[in-house]
């Protein structure tokens, strides 16, 4: 009973803490418009419609939001708890425009004239001007709100370390794929970096043994593959939709390059990726 009470107090404290970062008075001239909102996985569809599924696959647990009004401008602030920092960054990476630069707020941010997205710790934050039909520029207000909210959110301010393993040259985008990396169910969850030519991926399994089992399944799927000498084990081939590819295992990490002109090119790029994996 004492344990239950302690848990209830802790959870109540978390919710109270969460409410603290929803305050329109953070920025002078803004007042709250309408009640605060909260959504769980059960009813997020009521708020985000079909896009809710895009949250659920990134381990969404709770959205808390508020609308702040100044004159005719309404900024909608939504803070989603994504369970952990990797998922929060994953959500950010899926929603940012890869053609635009990443700003330095939390683990990463994207500032546009009418919207600001950022991830910090396990939280994914969206501040958006609700009337998308105008061509207004709200960057000052968006940044002002973010400057107040970001320090209140606990957790990591650095992106997942695996992202630094991808070679940076010619990299166009990088994101967390929450299921079926490369469109393959065998590769459950991992990071994918797209390049001007080809793409690289990193999947981390529970253990070297489970990673070796995944490699066996991959070899069974790609039965025409040829072994190559790279890391603990590796193979290359040319496959439909993935073109020239090379996949290797280093300990519990499975990684590789795909969609290059030929398997040899993929193996060459995979070797460069391998050099960066600790």
């Amino acid at each position: 009973m004492k344990m239950l009470l302690a848990c209830a107090v802790l959870l109540a404290a978390n919710t109270a803490h969460a409410q603290a970062y929803l305050d329109c008075h953070f920025v002078p001239g803004y007042e709250q418009s309408g009640p605060k909102r909260q959504y769980t996985p059960d009813n997020l569809f009521d708020y985000r419609d079909g896009a809710a599924e895009g949250y659920l696959i990134y381990s969404f647990t709770l959205l808390q939001g508020i609308d702040c009004k100044s004159g005719s401008t309404i900024l909608s602030i939504d803070i989603s708890d994504m369970s952990d920092a990797d998922s929060a960054y994953g959500m950010f990476s899926a929603n940012r425009d890869p053609r635009q630069p990443i700003a330095r707020i939390g683990m990463g941010a994207q500032l546009m004239p009418q919207s600001l997205l950022f991830a910090k710790g396990r939280y994914f934050v969206e501040i958006v001007e609700t009337d998308g039909s105008t061509d207004s520029n709200q960057t000052a207000a968006l940044q002002a709100f973010a400057a107040k909210i970001e320090p209140l959110l606990e957790g990591r301010s650095t992106p997942p370390e695996e992202l630094a393993w991808f070679p940076p040259a010619n990299q166009e985008s990088v994101k967390l794929v929450p299921e079926s990396v490369l469109g393959l169910k065998i590769l459950k969850r991992g990071y994918v970096a797209r390049y001007a030519t080809g793409q690289a991926f990193i999947v981390i399994e529970q253990s070297p043994i489970s990673a070796a089992e995944v490699m066996n399944k991959l070899r069974a799927r790609f039965e025409d593959s040829t072994p190559v000498k790279l890391a603990d084990e590796a193979f290359e081939l040319k496959a439909p939709y993935l073109d020239g590819l090379c996949i290797f295992r280093k300990g519990r990490t499975i990684a590789g390059f795909t969609n290059l002109a030929d398997p040899q090119s993929a193996t060459g790029q995979a070797a460069k990726l391998l050099e960066r994996i600790p």
Binding site: C7, A8, L11, A12, A13, N14, T15, A16, Q38, T40, P41, D42, N43, F45, D46, D49, G50, A51, E53, G54, L56, I57, S59, F60, T61, L62, S83, A94, N95, R96, D97, P98, S115, L117, D131, G132, S133, K175, V177, P178, E179, S180, V181, L182, G183, L184, K185, V192, R194, T197, G198, Q199, P240, Y241, L242, D243, T258, N259, L260
Partner: protein, 387 residues
């Protein structure tokens, strides 16, 4: 009629019915490369989407959560011809990915997108952005996104769809909804939409089926979404997906159930990998079978005591005046998602008698959930936790 027999008849209804008849950004995808269809390519079933006359494959593709464009490219290569996205999915990244995946094949395909904007200017601005991102001059179907009550649709929004039609930017006007039962009568009277996109799956009641029939009778094409009832993946961290639904073929049963219903023009299940695509393709070649019925009934059995479908049948039914559906939803916050504080906060916002009324005081519960939720048991648990 018992709950079990009702459900069985509901599931069996499907058995009784005849089977109805821009250049890629990512060069590596090479989506324009022709792919020979292998001998294993399943039979494709085409249907006419209401009065639009569009010939769509019974299996379409909901692109929203697909991460790898190759899955979409392969679906198009295999003959699936209807692909659905929305302006709001991943802040527009989804439309860009769909464009990259389909490439020059787009001209031979039926493509739909949606806008959540709530006025003419916003809608038309979204449409222009969608066309630019999708690298196309037009979309075949353009939906007003997520309209669950008639008052959410204003005249100028319908005007925006008409303007877009006149400009050749869209071929057909659509509306997507999660609450067709509330929207059907208005939709039929309004005659504004060529296509309706609605949630439809094996957990839903006959009211939804009647609404679909009413809309379809006017010649409006019906597209089904959420056809897997959320059963294919965990909805929260750590949740165990029902193993019976993970079993090979179980999700196929859910898809076949929808396809065997009348009035459904096409379906748009989400697919994230090649295996899901291969499995779902089978739905066009296989009939809904007794084994499918068993798989779905087993899933319903498991979720029935807990799963409130918010059908509204219990509204006003409690003799003590308890708001049953609201209480069940609040309980789910705590039991389902570990949000105890949120649940207690919401429970305390209910009228005071929700904390004091005792189900045990009633000799018989007057709330008879048509879906088998054990209402008195769940209400009592909510009171234990929050009152």
């Amino acid at each position: 009629m018992s709950i079990n027999s009702s459900r069985r008849e509901f599931l069996s209804a499907g058995l009784m019915l005849p089977v109805a008849g821009a250049a890629s950004k990512f060069d590596f995808l090479n989506p324009d490369k022709p792919v020979a269809k292998s001998a294993k390519t399943p039979k494709l079933e085409y249907r006419t989407l209401g009065k639009t006359g569009l010939k769509v494959t019974a299996l379409g593709f909901g692109c929203m959560i697909t991460s790898d464009p190759s899955v979409i490219t392969r679906a198009a290569d295999l003959g699936i011809n209807y692909f659905d996205t929305a302006r709001g999915y991943q802040n527009g990244n989804n439309e860009r990915m769909v464009a990259a995946a389909l490439g020059a094949k787009r001209k031979d395909l039926i493509l739909s997108t949606k806008s959540i904007a709530n006025n003419k200017e916003g809608l038309l601005k979204h449409l222009d952005t969608s066309l630019s991102e999708l690298k196309t001059d037009y979309v075949d179907i353009w939906y007003l996104h997520a309209k669950d009550i008639p008052s959410a649709i204003h005249e100028d929004m319908i005007e925006a769809q008409q303007i877009a039609k006149q400009q050749g930017k869209i071929r057909f006007a659509g509306m997507s909804t999660h609450a067709l039962a509330k929207m059907a009568e208005w939709t039929v009277d309004k005659k504004a939409f060529d296509v309706v996109l609605t949630v439809y799956n094996f957990t839903m009641d006959a009211k939804t089926e009647e609404s679909i029939a009413a809309v379809a009778k006017t010649g409006t094409g019906v597209v089904a979404m959420k056809i897997m009832a959320g059963g294919s993946r965990a909805r929260r961290p750590g949740e165990q997906v029902d193993p019976r639904m993970q079993r090979e073929g179980a999700m196929l049963s859910a898809l076949k159930w929808v396809l065997n219903k009348p009035h459904i023009g096409t379906t748009i299940p989400s697919m994230t990998d090649m295996d899901q695509l291969d499995e779902n393709l089978l739905a066009m070649a296989e009939k809904f079978s007794p084994n499918d019925e068993k798989a779905l009934a087993a899933h319903l059995d498991q979720i029935a005591p807990y799963y409130c479908r918010f059908c509204g049948e219990c509204d006003g039914a409690c003799q003590k005046g308890l708001q049953v559906a609201d209480t069940l939803r609040i309980l789910t916050y705590a039991d389902g998602y570990g949000q105890f504080a949120l649940a207690r906060e919401r429970f305390n916002e209910l009228p005071g008698h929700h904390a004091t009324a005792r189900c045990g005081d009633c000799t018989e519960c007057t709330v008879k959930c048509p879906h088998g939720v054990r209402v008195a048991e769940r209400i009592s648990r909510a009171q234990e936790l929050f009152a």
